[in-house]
Every structure is written in C-alpha cells, then in structure tokens.
C-alpha cells in the first residue's frame, strides 16, 4: 500500500497558504460578522477568503469558522451550532472500522491504520445540503475505490452500506429520540467506486474535528450532504439497496439517490437555489452540484422518480 504523508501530496505553496489562512481565519472571525452585515445591507458578495483556496469553479473555500461551527449532526443535536460544543469531548481514537459483507478480503482496522495504509488526497468540493445551503470545503480523504479494491467485492455485491456510530451514552441526540439510529447510508457500487467519492479524513489539512464527523466520514460531492454519513463504524458490501436513515424517516422527502437536482423540488426547501454560507444572496443550484462527470452513472434513469 502506498504510504504517503500529507506534506508529500500537497503542493507546498497551497499548504503554506492554508497555514496562513488558518491563522487569518482567527483574525477574521470577528470581522466575519461585520462583513456579513455589510454584505446583506449592500447586496454584494463577501470578498474571497484570504486562503486563496478555490474549487474548480473558482468559488472560494468557506471559512474554517463556518465549516467547524455550522453543522448538521443529529447524533448530537438538531441545532446547527450545538454539535460543535457537544462533540468536543467525543472520543474518536481508538476507533475500529469493519469493512466486510460480500467481499473476499474483509478488513477490521483502526482509523489510524486505514489512514496510514491508504493514500490521502486533497480535494476542494462543493457541499450542497438538502436544506438549501452550501459550502466549499477543502477535504482530505481516501478515495473509497482504493479501500473497496483492497477488500475485493464479490460479483454479487451491488451496493455499499455505511453504518454510523451508535452510543446513546455519549451521543445525546441518540438518547431520547424516535429517530431510527444508527445513521445508515448507502451508495450503488459504481457510485462508491467513482473517482470523486472519498472517505473523508480531514479538512483544511488537519484531521476531522468531532463535529465534522471524525475520524472517518463519507464525502459524495454530487449528492445532498446527508448522504455523506459521519463517524463511520461499518462499511458493508450488500446485494440489496440499503434503506438510509432519512429514507426510513420520510421516504417521500428523501430518496436513495439524493443527487443534487434543481428540477426535483423538495416539499420543504428550495432545490432550485441555494445560499452559500458566508456569502450574501442566493445562487442557482446546478444539476449534480455541477459535477457533470457523474451524469453517465444515471443515463436512462428518470431522476424525478429515482430522486
């Protein structure tokens, strides 16, 4: 297995600018509010973050303050800022992950081992939440394909099922609730093998914070954010389509595919437009979140039925 360190795979210049950014993020955090005020008052867009990090559309990366402080993590709370506080003492090490099911070579290993055995790449992806907001996030992650190739799926495997952490003692959101815990997600095998799909390990060059899904989460940038399950404990290759957490709760609202699609309305939030966190104004949402290269995965499928 390739065994690369972050420093080797990150261009030095980008890495340095990221250092500068993290420092300046702290300086700018107090100014961020004023910027937001100013922006909403004048209708202009906030200036790009000083990191200079952009996605391939040229959209500036969302500030660390927003990425680390504004999350959806129902295992802790349905509030957006509470998980950041509640997850601070959540132990994510040691952390064992099982990768099995319909595979020839099942694995059980720690998150640390996984990170040292597989190459980590850096990708700046847009993240579109089903709630109508979005971010641009500089991820670190292992291409899921590398891990799946290592466990060798059998010919009967058609889907990948992901299971999140279940520990009501440590996760207040799981304690008194009627939600169908643990969090379950799933991908079709070809979606899981796609080059864009990552097992996320870090953000802004550092290990994932607990509130962002440490130590290991899914990152599927062309699907709504809820597909990108946090704090993964188990990855299973299966024959049948898994029922995801949100599908189980409200099947008419959340489908299995959950591809970002401005043409399929949601009964609650706008899917035609989105608000980029940290910027003022709304913008049109793009089909597959702008990742047109995945369109071939769904050729011949009616995306309004398979939403």
């Amino acid at each position: 297995m390739p065994d690369k360190k972050i420093e080797e795979i990150t261009p030095e210049k980008l890495y340095q600018s990221r250092r500068t950014f993290i420092k300046s993020a702290l300086t700018y955090s107090s100014a961020a509010f004023l910027a937001a005020c100013k922006a909403s008052a004048t209708g202009t867009t906030v200036q790009p973050t000083p990191s200079g990090i952009t996605d391939e559309f040229g959209d500036p990366a969302t500030t660390g303050e927003d990425i680390f402080g504004f999350t959806n993590y129902y295992e802790f709370s349905s509030d957006k800022s509470e998980p950041t506080k509640l997850a601070q003492d959540f132990q994510t090490s040691p952390w064992t992950i099982q990768i099995g099911g319909l595979v020839k070579n099942p694995l059980e290993l720690t998150a640390e081992d996984l990170k040292s055995q597989f190459p980590q790449v850096e990708r700046v992806y847009r993240m579109r939440c089903v709630e109508g907001w979005s971010m641009v996030i500089p991820w670190l992650g292992i291409p899921l394909k590398e891990v799946l190739d290592a466990v060798k799926p059998t010919s009967t495997a058609q889907y990948v099922r992901f299971e999140g952490v279940f520990d009501p003692e440590l996760l207040p959101g799981q304690k008194y609730s009627t939600y169908p815990w643990p969090y379950i997600e799933g991908l079709r095998l070809d979606e899981a093998m796609h080059d864009l799909t990552l097992l996320g390990t870090g953000i802004y060059g550092k290990d994932l914070t607990p509130q962002n899904g440490a130590p290991l989460r899914l990152v599927v940038p062309w699907k709504y954010g809820f597909k990108s399950i946090k704090a993964i404990k188990k990855i299973e290759l299966v024959k049948e389509m898994p029922t995801s957490f949100w599908m189980a709760l409200a099947p008419h609202e959340y489908g299995f595919y959950a591809n970002v699609n401005p043409n399929v309305p949601h009964p609650r939030w706008s899917q035609a437009t989105e608000r980029r966190i940290g910027e003022s104004g709304r913008q049109d949402t793009l089909l597959f979140n702008g990742y047109d290269e995945v369109a071939e995965l769904y050729s011949g499928m009616d995306l309004s039925v398979n939403f």
């Binding site: 955090s29 107090s30 937001a36 909403s40 209708g43 349905s78 609650r268 608000r275 966190i277």
Partner: protein
Amino acid sequence: MRKKPSNIQILSFFASLIPAIWFIINFTQGVYSSYPTLFLTQFSGKWAIIFLLASLACTPMYSIFHMNSFLQARKTIGLAAFYYAAVHAGTFIILDYQFNLRWLIPEFQTKPYLLLGLTALLLLLCLALTSGKGFQRKFSKLWIKIHRFVYLIGLLVLLHSYFAIKGEKTTAFVNLAIYLILMLLRIPAIRDKISLKDRKTFQNLNHWLNS
C-alpha cells in the same frame, strides 16, 4: 389626552420585546453569522407561534381566574404575534429571496405550507389593522366576527409549522395539543367547571395590573 398605560400593558409590551432583544444581542455577538437569514426565520417563526398561543390563552385565563387584565394583555400579545410573523415572512421573502419572483413563485407553487403561512399572515394583518380601540367601539359586532379568525389562523400556523419542521415533529404536536386545550377551555361547560368559585382570589393582583 392619551391615558397612561396600565401595568399589564407595560408588562406585556416589554415581555414581547425580550425575544427580539435576545436575538439582537446574539446577532451582535456573531452567533448567527454563518447564516443570519436562516436563524432569523426560525427564531421569529418560533416566537410568532408562542405569542399566538399565548394570545389564545388570554380569554381562558380571564374566565378561570376572573382577571380582566388578561384581556388587556391579549391585544399586546396578539400584536406581538403579528410583528414576529411579519419579520418571519419578511426575512424569507425579502432578505433571503431578495424579492426575486423567478425564485419565489416556483417555491410557493411547489410548497403548500408556504401558502398556508402566507394566508395566516394576511389574516393576522387584518386583525392587527382592526385591533385599535376606536375600531372595536365603532364596529363591535364586526370586530368580534373578524377577531374570531384567530382560531383559523392558529390552525393554519400549526399546519404550516408541522410541514416546515424537519425530522421529529414533537414540537408541532405539543403546539397542537396546547391549541386544542385552549379551544376546549372555551366550551362553557368545561370553562364553568374549572373556573375559580371565589371571584375575589386574585382581585388585588388584577387591580394592580389594571392600574
């Protein structure tokens, strides 16, 4: 000359300001900086419902405790419900969607709960416009008819919030239960059964509140 406001008017007025002050303090601390319009929409919507239910509680409270100061509070609290609802809808339509009809019209077409909310707001506006003492005196029969719409507004708002809440709907069901209890307390048989027999119990407090 205008009459000096009574203690209950002053109390209910400042009580209705507390959530707004709380939001402004948090706002200046940067608590909502990630997505200010989302936080303001949810905050103002939540308090619009709380004040609406509180205004619906005033009449039963008056019947049970024989304190007519509740009827004075009712108007202030009802107006607060309207102001918070107006901020709620205004944030969504103007601050979030920038009054862009190309974006707004499809949303109202595909989301019935938005129409429920808009209808409730327009009805609340009618109530707010006719809430003055002058109107109430001049058109007392019409005033009663118009202001009975608040029962319908309550239902519309609760339905609106049921569809607007993501995931577990506990809050929506609790609100509905409160609404139903407040309706039951208006039924004369129930009202008379639980109202205090001794009309003088809270007379001193009532007197002070009205002074």
